[in-house]
Symmetry: C2
Subunit: 396 residues, 2 copies
C-alpha cells in the first residue's frame, strides 16, 4: 500500500476543508471545518473515559444520523469537565454550522482538544463560521491538519488510492496526538474520509477493527482521554459502491492509514527522541502478547532506560512479568534491535557495550519471545525524556 503523506482529509472527492484563528489559542489557527458536499455515512470510535467531553457526548449521538455533512474541530480547549454549559456550547456549534450548511444539527459532528475544565468560548467559534465556510477548499486538508494540533510539533496526514471492483476510490486521514503515548495520553483525534460509498454498519465494523490494530496499539483499551475519537466519513462521491468483495482491500487501506497515523503520533510524542516497537511473540493468545507488550511499552523505567540508551533488559523482563500473563520465565528470549540480550530467561552473555550500541538508532525494535505458543502482538511507544517532564510541568 503506497501511502501519500502530503494529503489528508480532502484527498477523496467531495470533501472541502478550511481553518481559521478564532481566538482560543493566542496565535495559531484553532478551528477547522471539514465538509462533505454529498451526504456521508459516518462511523466513529469514542473514548471510554467516564469523564468524557461535551463534544464526545454530542458526536456519539449524531454519528447515528443517516447522513453527516460536516465535522467542526477546535484546538486549545477540550470542552471537558464543563458540565451543562459546555454541552450547550457544543450543541450550539452544531446548530450554527447546520444553519449555514442547510442541514440538520444532528448531521454535524464536533470534536475538541486542549485544556480541560475551561468553558468553550462558543461565541468565538461561531463568529468564525462564515469565514470558515467561505474558505472551504478541496485543498484545505493541510490547513485543517494544522489547526487541530496542540503540543504536536508536526501535522499528521496520509492518503492513498484503492482499486475496488467498480473502480478507484480515494481515502485519506489526519490526526493529532500530543501527550506521551501512554494510558494517560492527552487527546488523540483522527478523521478519515473516503469517496467510496459504504454501508454504515459495515463502515463501523471496518473502523472498529482498524482502530484496534492501530490507535489502540499506542494506548491501552479503555484507558483513553476525555476527548479521544476517531471518525470516518464515506460520501460516495466517487460514484463507486464498496461491495462485499471489496471489503478486504478497503480494510487493508484503512488499516494502513490508521497504522501510519498512529505511528506518526508516537513519533511526535511529547519530548520523544526514539520510536520503539515492542514485539511480543510466542504467546498462547494475541491478548496475552498484547498485554505483555503494553506493560513493557508503558513502563517509565523501560522508557527512561531507552532514552538513556541504557540496555537494562532486566526492566523489560520485570515489566513483562507483571502483565498478568502466566508463562515460563525460563523460556524467554529478548532482542534489542536484533541483538540478543536474554537467552532462556538469563543474560545472553552479550557485552553491555554491544547492547548499548543496539539502542543507538532512533527507531528501535524490542522483541520478547516466549515459548508458550505462536501468537504475537506489536505495540508502539516512545522513550521518556527530560523534555517530557519539561513539557508537562509547564502545560497549563
Amino acid at each position: 500500500m503506497m501511502l501519500d503523506k502530503t494529503h489528508g482529509v480532502t484527498w477523496a472527492s467531495g470533501y472541502r476543508a478550511a481553518a481559521v484563528h478564532c481566538g482560543i489559542k493566542s496565535d495559531s489557527t484553532d478551528v477547522a471545518l471539514l465538509v462533505s458536499d454529498t451526504p456521508a455515512a459516518a462511523a466513529g470510535v469514542f473514548t471510554t473515559n467516564v469523564c468524557c467531553a461535551a463534544p464526545v457526548l454530542v458526536s456519539k449521538r449524531h454519528i447515528h444520523s443517516e447522513a453527516v455533512y460536516a465535522i467542526l474541530v477546535n484546538s486549545g480547549n477540550a470542552n471537558a469537565a464543563t458540565g451543562e454549559e459546555g454541552f450547550s456550547a457544543a450543541v450550539m456549534c452544531t446548530e450554527e454550522v447546520a444553519y449555514r450548511l442547510q442541514c440538520a444539527p444532528t448531521e454535524v459532528l464536533v470534536a475538541s482538544t486542549g485544556i480541560i475544565g475551561t468553558q468553550l468560548p462558543g461565541e468565538k467559534i461561531i463568529a468564525s463560521l462564515d469565514m470558515l465556510i467561505a474558505g472551504l477548499s478541496d485543498t484545505g486538508g493541510q490547513e485543517a491538519a494544522e489547526a487541530i494540533l496542540t503540543t504536536d510539533t508536526c501535522t499528521k496526514q496520509c492518503a492513498c488510492d484503492v482499486m475496488l471492483s467498480g473502480g478507484t476510490i480515494r481515502i485519506g486521514g489526519m490526526a493529532k496526538g500530543s501527550g506521551m503515548i501512554m494510558p494517560n495520553m492527552a487527546t488523540m483525534l483522527a478523521f478519515i474520509t473516503t469517496d467510496a460509498a459504504i454501508e454504515r454498519h459495515l463502515q463501523q465494523q471496518l473502523l472498529e477493527k482498524a482502530v484496534r490494530c492501530s490507535f489502540n496499539r499506542i494506548t491501552v483499551d479503555g484507558d483513553t482521554s476525555t476527548n479521544d475519537c476517531v471518525i470516518m466519513l464515506a460520501n460516495g462521491a466517487s460514484g463507486i459502491q464498496a461491495t462485499e468483495q471489496d471489503l478486504d482491500i478497503l480494510y487493508e487501506a484503512l488499516e494502513s492509514i490508521c497504522i501510519e497515523l498512529a505511528k506518526m503520533i508516537v513519533r511526535d510524542g511529547e519530548g520523544a527522541t526514539k520510536f520503539v516497537s515492542i514485539n511480543v511473540e510466542g504467546c498462547r493468545t494475541e491478548e496475552d502478547a498484547e498485554a505483555i507488550a503494553r506493560t513493557i511499552a508503558n513502563s517509565p523505567l523501560v522508557k527512561t532506560a531507552i532514552y538513556g540508551e541504557n540496555p537494562n533488559w532486566g526492566r523489560i523482563l520485570a515489566a513483562a512479568g507483571r502483565a498478568g500473563v502466566a508463562y515460563d520465565q525460563a523460556g524467554v528470549d529478548v532482542y534489542l534491535n536484533d541483538v540478543k540480550a536474554v537467552d532462556s530467561g538469563c543474560h545472553a552473555g552479550t557485552q553491555t557495550m554491544v547492547l548499548a550500541d543496539a539502542l543507538k538508532p532512533s527507531e528501535l525494535v524490542i522483541r520478547v519471545v516466549l515459548s508458550e505458543g505462536d501468537k504475537q502482538a506489536e505495540v508502539w511507544t516512545c522513550d521518556m525524556t527530560h523534555a517530557y517532564v519539561d513539557i508537562n510541568v509547564a502545560y497549563t
Copy 2:
C-alpha cells in the same frame, strides 16, 4: 500508636543483626544478617511477578517451615533472571548460614535487591558470613537497615511497644524502597520482627491484611517487581502469647508500622520532592475507590503537574475517569490540599494562583469526592521529576 523511628528489627527481644561489605557494591555495606535466638514463626507476602527472583522462590518455600532462625539479605544484586545458577546460589547461601547457626537450610530465608540479570556472587556473601555472625548484636538493626538500601537515600525503620493482655511486647521493622513508587517500582523489601508468640496462620493473616493497607497502597496489586517481599518473624522471646483477644491491638500496631514504612518509601521515591496522599471518597465500594486512587497516583501527567506545582486538575479528572469504574462525572468534587478545584464535575471557580499555592507544600492531599456511596480509599505517591529521569537513565 507512638512509633519510634530510631529502632527497627532488633527492637524486639531475641533478635540480633549485623551488616558487612562483602564486595557486591563498590563501597557500602551490602549484606545483612538478621537472626532470631529462639525459633520464630514466619509469615511472608511475595511478589506476584512471573519473572520472580531466585531468593523469592527459595523464601516462598522456606516460609512454611515450623521455625525460622535467620534472614540473609543482600543489596546490589537482585539474583533475578539468573536461572538455575542463581537458584543454586540462593540455596547455597541458606545452607551456609544454616551450617553456622546449626539449623536447617529450610529455616533460613533469603532476600536480594539490586541489578537484575547478573549472577549473584554467592562466594563473596558466603566468605562474609563468619564476620557477619561474629558481629551480630541486639543493636544491629540500624546497620542492617543501611545495608539493604540501593538507590534509597535514607534508612527506613520504626518500632513500637504494644500492651497485650499478658504484658508488653515489642514490634519493629525496616524497609527499603528505591524506584519510583509506581506499578513498575524497583524492589521493595520489608522485614518485621516481634517478640510476641503468634500462631503461624494467624500471623500470616495479620500480615496479609496489613500489607493490603500499607505497602499495597503504594503499588498496584500484582504489579510488583521481581524481588518484592515483606517478611515477618514472631519469636515469642517476650514470653507473651498473643491471644485471640489481642489480635486487634496487635494488628493495629503491625498496620501502623507497615503504613509508616510504606510512607517512608514514598517520601524517598527516586527524585521525589513531594509526598502525595490521593484520597478518593464517596464510592460504592472500597475497591472502586482504590482503583480510582491508584490510577490518579500512577498518572505521569498528574505526577509531573504536581512536581511543577501546576494545578492542572483536568488531569486528575481524566485519570479518575479511566480507572474502569462507572460513576456520574457531574457528581465529582476535587480538593487540592483542602482548596476546592472542582465542583460537581466543573471548575469550582477558584483562581489558578490560589490552586497553585495549594500545591506548594511538600506534603499534599488530593481529595476526589464522588457521589456514588460512602466508601473510600487512600493511596500514597510522589511527584515525577527531572531527577527521576536522571536516576533511571543512569541506573545500570
